[in-house]
Subunit: 352 residues, 4 copies
């Protein structure tokens, strides 16, 4: 089905991003959740919080689980979250004496948040690479055409001539700044969530710290304490994604304006393939994320020790923002790669 | 894949609405598009704009087309819209002398907008029915418990006792008002879009009016002139949908507050099935639509005779808003249906 | 001070609307609040809910009150609302035996909501008139230039020639539709709020209905029952206002594009007075309201019998949306009035 | 007038922040603009771009200017920006041979953006201090009550007992993270804007770099190149501000829930002074910024070398976001300072 353009069989070709969307596929999600459960068992066994041998048995269950999706769906409609049923399915695969050690001391949010972070880790690298490539491509275009003249426009009116290089710099600089900020963002976002029922890991007693540290190491995330009600990492990520689509939207808007026929644009005919579709889509994606980012900020008001309403809102918004950003990057790269000459417009138009 | 919760194999059980989502499935979309093309041919043949016999041939092509989805996807990535390729596939099914009569004088936007409206027609009826049912259910609850006392709360503090009936009225009234507004909204939204390349249907010459009227009749929509750049109908629909989720979100928030254990709520244990998941989800859906409605209003700035960027933004947002509204309605109905007694709280708590 | 452009000594010349802003001045606000208190006393005296003579004394107090603004400010910081202190000041002007009859059975929200509605009544008429005038102006422009040719643009590319009249119609139609919807909107919004502490007017006993009806008549609003927690009227108003600025923003965007020098625009120089400032501002105001409307929808989740947080949010947003709409109307009228010829562009540009 | 609550004579006591609002007063704005012009003259004289003696004369004019506000207002309505008229007024104070050296090579945006940044520099320090104070206050509360028990709530239901200290940590941690991010944000935002007509400072020839560096030093900002179309610094600031109000909104929401009478809250009566007004306002301010941040992201699509529409949108939104954040900080500090005991709730309620 196709409520979302990102998964629409046709529109995802225009507005989707397959590699990033793949990280939000159910299979990737469940894999990440099971990775958490497996790692938790390893950490807890090492700390003596669960018996020797439990981890290996749990790992086997995780590796061989064939999740009953219909049951997960039904349970989620009731529980608001899939973890209790997933844990139930895992436990059903184990001897009764081992079953209770699955998911020991953890809560649903630990699994869901960490599993999301594990996929965001991959996604952010998948975004870094095309950012680097786009910056490099802008440098290439600059090397080819940078010295040509271009008419600057302010307030939608011709201003003074600049170089193509100046225009390219105005596209490049914010991208470079945002890429430089990505490392910091990764530090902010890529952390283990592990807090138990109410954030205090009470059931682990004095083994809290050691299990948490070991679990973080096992899943390759930072151990910076429970952040179950601190949603600023995701709000900051959402802001960064929306800034990225905004910066790319500016490139799109500029190119759509330069591609106007009167300005010396792409074509004089209505041939679809020459329409500045990619340029327009960049503006669309910027407006999309600019609207949606508002919901991610709204979700910061996360009451008490777990807000079902605020937390669920993140699930509705963040994956879409990530895919929109990925799509904008690939679209911008394709668009900039197709630039043949930005300078024509200074030679045309009624006011040369 | 599951970028969107509305199509997520598990989360759609919590946040989706299958009957409404079905209207946004690709098959429903293509069916509606082909319905437009078929009806257009009928109208144009009757008006003498295309030859006798063309309509029947075109109808057959539409009825038997097996769309090449991969080609549609590739073409859409290039053209920004699927219609040119869909028309190409239709034309390839016809004799060369008839091929040109497919989609004659129409433009992609005519097909896409009208096909969306045709599905919204179904969807709005699908929303009306549960609205009626929910109002009736509130009346039933009122008949059972309305006379009991309930403590009113203002600014999150106990105020004065009211009746359960008063609380139910505060939920019912806005629903009734919105249902009463639905007929008007349907009039606003359910109109044929038919304007041709630039909204003027030039290629039909003096047959414009007759073809337009006949086409409208054939697809069962009002003929109120071309509205290709007037996106207020969709903004108004988006506003209505967000008002609906807002009104239901208020019910959810109220119930979540009443279900607090300290207020005499559902349970004293952490049993998942007794968590007020449905109540929380209503708040989530309200916040979701409240964020997204902003993008639909942003899309009103639809430049020139067709804005690729503003138009595409609608596709990203409106279907999600509709499904969110449908899900909120069914969730609210389920939740209100589970009310056993709203009055407990006046008998409990530290300040009786 | 100038946190808000609408009250900035300089920027309000560009972005403000004095007549509408005047309705949100403190003096207008207090006048409307006192009008409620006076009318309430009249209604309650007639119904026998307060003693004969009380209404005249209360009216005198309302007419002669010199509000202590500093005290109102301090009290509001504590109470969240100015009414308790305003009532205290009124009561202090009256004999002790009459004092208690001021504001009898009413609550702060009754005063604040009704006083806002009373000013919105004026404001909506102030918006209707320039809407009519703008439609008439568009007709005048059409009569002068409508027959000239203009190049249509789709997806930012030249499409086919249309008439100036077609362009003007695309601006005119949504305005006409919105103006036609204004009467309905007025019916939705212009209603008395009167519910007392928790919406049930308990203190009036069996005089509820008669006092409410008389009060409504006295202030000239409809008596449609208490709507203290039903914020859909304001969400609908916000949506209408944002649709209006969106429709005007489309006009602005179109003109900014047509005014590009290369398209045969206003000037070839950078002279500021020829910049399409008014056209740009229309886009700005559309984007402003499109963002802010989201907050008005968020405020629909109005928990319990009065939500301090959701209610206060309306105060932060709605007045700004109204002024933005008023400014957009006057700006659009000025801009359309300055059109000398929309047709030049078909005669210029590199692809004639 | 009072379109904006931030400048409302009464409501600003509840929702305003005087010291921060003072930075957005017209006088502060003009002072900052003149500081730019004075510093520019110093830098340009030193570089030989304007004659010796010009800087002193320009400084005198800037120091003694009595701006004609009415003329600035009228000109801004026409030009969209106040700088040309301000420069005209300055030039009128100087000998004709010196007049042309005022504002030499600069453009309006250089003045407006830099003058805003200069005031944001002050504002961000004014925000840092109460952040530090609030963190310290939370530590104090923790020292006093941290060991007491408190009932955790997940999904609006009682979960397990935690310590007051755990709750305070959940409030403190995001604040500490945001405060730690403030230094980085200051680096991002506090930079000179200096680009001339189209961002290239052409009129300064080979003196560009030296004038820019000297000007930056004179106004105490970083010289990181022209960023006239790169609005990510302001979007990032807006995001940080909205994250801050979101984090404080979570504190407000928690306290409003804990202050419920049934949970062992503040009072059993409806006495206004005991209503959790401050807690509710924190939620309001969070929702406000969460809506408005969307507009700041929308403004990232800043077309060409200067977008009148996108730039002006920032003026409408950013000052309000800053004041909202300042108000939220002082409100949260007042609220947390009034906490007497968070632990009562574990001893009350129907399900002990």
């Amino acid at each position: 089905m196709s409520v979302s353009v990102f998964e629409h069989p046709i529109l995802s070709g225009l507005l989707g991003d397959e590699p990033i969307a793949a990280q939000f596929a159910l299979s990737a999600e469940i894999t990440a959740m099971l990775r958490f459960e497996t790692a938790l068992a390893v950490a807890e066994e090492e700390a003596g919080a669960i018996p020797k041998g439990a981890a290996a048995a749990i790992a086997t269950a995780c590796n061989t689980l064939k999740p009953d999706i219909a049951a997960l769906r039904d349970a989620t409609a009731r529980d608001g979250v899939s973890v209790p049923e997933l844990v139930r399915q895992l436990r059903a695969m184990l001897n009764p004496d081992l079953a209770a050690h699955v998911h020991f001391a953890a809560t649903s949010q630990d699994v869901i948040d960490t599993a999301l972070v594990l996929r965001l880790e991959i996604v952010l690298e998948e975004i870094r690479q095309p950012m680097d490539a786009l910056v490099a491509l802008l440098d290439t275009v600059d090397a080819r055409f940078g010295n040509r003249e271009l008419m600057a426009h302010t307030r939608m009116q011709r201003a003074v001539p600049i170089k193509v290089s100046d225009k390219l710099s105005s596209w490049r600089e914010p991208l470079v700044e945002m890429r430089d900020a990505l490392g910091r963002l990764q530090k902010t976002v890529l952390r283990l969530q592990f807090g138990g029922a109410a954030g205090t890991l009470d059931r682990l007693g004095d083994k809290k710290a050691i299990v948490s540290a070991r679990l973080a190491k096992e899943v390759g995330l930072a151990d910076r304490g429970c952040w179950h009600t601190n949603r600023t990492p995701f709000a900051e990520l959402a802001g960064w994604l929306s800034q990225l689509t905004g910066v790319l939207g500016k490139i799109g808007q500029d190119i759509a304006l330069m591609a106007q026929n009167e300005v010396g644009g792409t074509s004089s005919a209505l041939a679809h393939k020459q329409n500045p579709v990619a340029a327009e889509i960049l503006v669309t994606l910027a407006r999309f994320n600019a609207a949606v980012v508002s919901g991610m900020h709204s979700a910061l008001v996360h009451e008490n020790e777990r807000s079902g309403s605020a937390w669920t809102l993140e699930w509705m918004l963040l994956p879409q923002m990530v895919v929109a950003a990925g799509c904008a990057l690939s679209t911008a790269t394709r668009l900039v790669g197709s630039i043949e000459d930005l300078s024509a417009e200074t030679n045309s138009g009624p006011n040369p």
